[in-house]
């Protein structure tokens, strides 16, 4: 990194920021129970941001431009790239903004049980766990990919920022298949920052069960309006609406009306009020800002706005960085008690929420329909199409909790009055 700093200085760049990231990975790819491919990735590169200040018609402006450089590049090559970036920055001018206060820290090693085991053994631990519970007589693991990564990040800035962290993560995808009545499959992604073997086994067991149930599911839902339960990894996708709306990137251009003190659920809230904490994913964000737990929504009222350094400065709010992970308290109703007169969708082709209009939608791969007495029937096909702006007054969150890499909170939520497309 010192070499980059020397080159920046020799190019006359006074204001700069460097994020150096190295990734070392072990990757296993399985088809059925056989290992189909092994991979190692060992890469390291740096994003260098250069800033350029100008005054145009009496107004102070600041431009920035980013480049990716690698250690194997020559000094001459990096010098040319930095000069090009400085030239580009002089044309990407925006109103002046201050950079955040400098942050200095020793290397933070992310606390994780993944650190307690030899790196090369981690992927096998997860693979062994998966095949240990792959013992259903009908449903089975069709294919699986496991990626174990160690990230080393070091950031330095011309303001004096000098922070670094090390983090291990495990992620991948899982496809289960069942040929009982119909030949069907279920796709799931997973991501852990701990040696969460029990959570992983639970995911596989649930996915195998859902796949088996889908194999027997034939009926489409009835077209109309219904209460709908959404759960598991679809929860952070649903809650994404609030995170995006609370970010300066949507507030500054007035796509979102969020401001401190706004009650985002409005009046006459009959259901659960939203309580969300911003949770850090990494010790520092990509701008070198220290990330800590902060209140976002308390009883539906905005307490903190987050965002990048530039837009936060324009909005005159503290430069705390952007947060994408939320922590919510448990609800009051158990998932089992929710299962009356509703559709519980456990698997979609793809479930999407729009931060622009609050709509959420997806094609149903497996759902459980419950009548007024709680009798269950299997559903496949059809679609869910709703609006959080309409449903947010009647949230009913589950007592049961879940801990995902991008969300800690209720396992499920019941939404009222959702459009169902089916027969």
């Amino acid at each position: 990194m010192e070499r980059y700093i020397d080159i920046l200085k020799s190019c006359g760049v006074d204001i700069w920021f460097i994020k150096e990231k190295s990734v070392y990975s072990n990757e296993l790819f399985f088809i059925k129970k056989k290992l189909d491919m092994r991979r190692i990735n060992n890469s390291k590169d740096s994003i260098i941001t250069v800033y350029c200040d100008k005054e145009i018609e009496g107004e102070k402006m600041r431009g920035r431009s980013d480049i990716i450089v690698a250690d194997t590049m020559s000094d001459e090559e990096i010098k040319k790239m930095i000069k090009d970036a400085l030239y580009a920055a002089s044309f990407s001018l925006n109103p002046f903004f201050e950079l955040p206060a400098p942050e200095v820290s020793d290397t933070v090693v992310n606390k994780s049980t993944l650190n307690d085991i030899e790196f090369s053994k981690i992927a096998d631990k997860f693979a062994d766990a998966a095949y240990e519970v792959d013992n259903d007589k009908d449903a089975f693991i069709n294919s699986m990919e496991i990626f174990v990564e160690e990230h080393k990040v070091h950031m330095r800035g011309s303001t004096g920022t000098d922070v670094s962290y090390v983090k291990r993560v495990v992620n991948g995808e899982l496809i289960t298949q069942c040929k009982s009545l119909q030949d069907v499959e279920t796709y799931e992604q997973f991501a852990y920052d701990d040696l969460s073997i029990d959570d992983f086994k639970r995911l596989i067991k649930n996915t195998l069960k859902h796949t088996k149930d889908r194999s027997f599911a034939k009926d489409k839902p009835k077209t109309g309006i219904s209460d709908v339960i959404i759960s598991d990894a679809h929860m952070p996708e649903l809650m994404k609406f609030y995170f995006e709306r609370g970010n300066a990137a949507m507030i500054y251009p007035e796509y979102s009306n969020y401001k401190i003190g706004l009650n985002v659920q409005g009046d006459d809230v009959k259901g659960d009020k939203l309580n969300i904490l911003y949770e850090p994913v990494n010790p520092f964000n990509d701008e070198g800002i220290k990330m800590i737990e902060r209140p976002f929504l308390e009883d539906g009222v905005v307490k903190t706005i987050c965002g990048n350094q530039r837009l936060s400065y324009y909005l005159n709010i503290p430069q705390i960085g952007s947060y994408g992970k939320g922590k919510m308290p448990a609800g009051k109703v158990s998932l089992d008690d929710m299962k009356k007169d509703c559709l519980y969708v456990v698997n979609f082709s793809s479930f999407e929420t729009s931060e622009m209009d609050g709509s959420f939608r997806g094609e149903i791969r497996l759902a459980y329909a419950y009548d007024k007495d709680g009798n269950e029937s299997l559903i496949t096909g059809g679609s869910v199409n709703g609006s959080l702006l309409k449903s947010q007054k009647d949230f009913c969150f589950s007592k049961e909790m879940q801990n995902l890499d991008n969300y800690i909170g209720p396992l499920a939520v019941k939404l009222k009055g959702v459009n169902i497309g089916g027969e």
């Binding site: 092994r38 431009s65 090369s120 069709n142 294919s143 009306n257 530039r310 793809s350 622009m356």
Partner: protein, 472 residues
Amino acid sequence: MKVKENEYIINNKPLFKKLLDELLKEFDYASVLAVDATGKSYAASRNGISISADSRMSVQRGFTVKVYFDGCYAEYSGNAISEEGIKDIIATIKDELLILSKDRSKSSYDLPDDDPIVFDKSTEYEIDPEEMGDEAIINKLKKMHEDGLKKDERIVDCFTRYTYQKYSKLFLSKNRDMVQNVMWGVAYVVALSAKGEEIKQAYRPVSLLGGAEIFKEMDSLTDSAVKEAIELIDSEPLKPGTYECICSPETTGMIVHEAFGHGVEMDMFVKDRALAKNYMGEYVASPLITMHDGNKVDDTATYFFDDEGTLAQDTIIIEKGILKAGISDLQSAKALGTKPTGNGRRQDYTRKAYTRMTNTYFESGTDKLEDMIASVKDGLYLESPSSGMEDPKNWGIQCMVSIAREIKDGKFTGKIFSPIILTGYVPDLLKSITMVSDTLDILGSGYCGKGHKEWVKVSDGGPYIKATINLG
């Protein structure tokens, strides 16, 4: 003009050849893919102006080594290459990669074909974005952004972006020595309008295999995006049901790509994840439909060889309604005993190659668009596709479009519905096609994921089609 081979590839080719030679001393088969890609993204919106070259989607430099060991393939990727570092790479492959999960049962493959092929090819462009310069490019985008905002006070923002990538790839194996130099570009306008707390978006993209000449195609985009964003303010939700529909070429492209294309990626055949495997030689679509993937047309997914050193080709997937062939990467073709079709693609040098689509489209037909619209008694015109998700296993459709325009007695009523989900069973939709226009439009503005990751540049499209579709 032809895209020039870049200096990194020229200067480091002897080093990569030496790496390959050392690998071939240890392994029955080895290959090296080196890539150097440059590019920039320019944007203007109410959030500000930006010029960046910080996304590995457009900027990357590194290499992937593939080795054949004990009947199976393994890969090492990295971006540090030097004369003295070659022995470290070999040591990592032998001492770390090949001992990973070593006691587990493994797939077994034959050695890949390695017929001699040597070439150095480049795509064409008219205007080099680097010569056009940052100032001229950002000023064009700023003007479009400002013009869009002025067109109607209900417009909240008018977002404009141009991205290009210029890449060179070198593939080396014992008998192959290939270089390709390619440049593509994508530009778009997104107009946003407000309806209370809801923000409506209208997206107008263009794409090409080439350079900054793309700006010639951008003049009408702002007007069109603003018009649609305003229309969306008064859009209504659609009553779910089955409708007679005319699909715009972009909507046809989404159906081609999401609903059917993913289902003929033959790595899915290997995993028993694609229904199409059981339908080879059978009618899966109307006899009016012929579907291609590959290099017969030029757009953002055009190349000369794939990321495993297989030559690109034109694959006819459906011919007059009958499923004829799938597309494959090298390893899947080995597993299935077929020939690879040049569809082994990586998100970047750090990722594994999978079977991926390139330029995928339906051939044009003979109908006139005006006759197609006139033939609809009570139906919808579907346009502005927003997203889609594949379901190769069950041929379920999940595609979304932003606009459905009502047609009654062969005429547009002016009423529009939004948003719209297309659902149903893929062959039912494809067999219901009764009219196909005599035009063909391909668009390569988006990236395609495999599942929810592994993003690669693709294009898709086709003619206007008339079909019966379940809409939610």
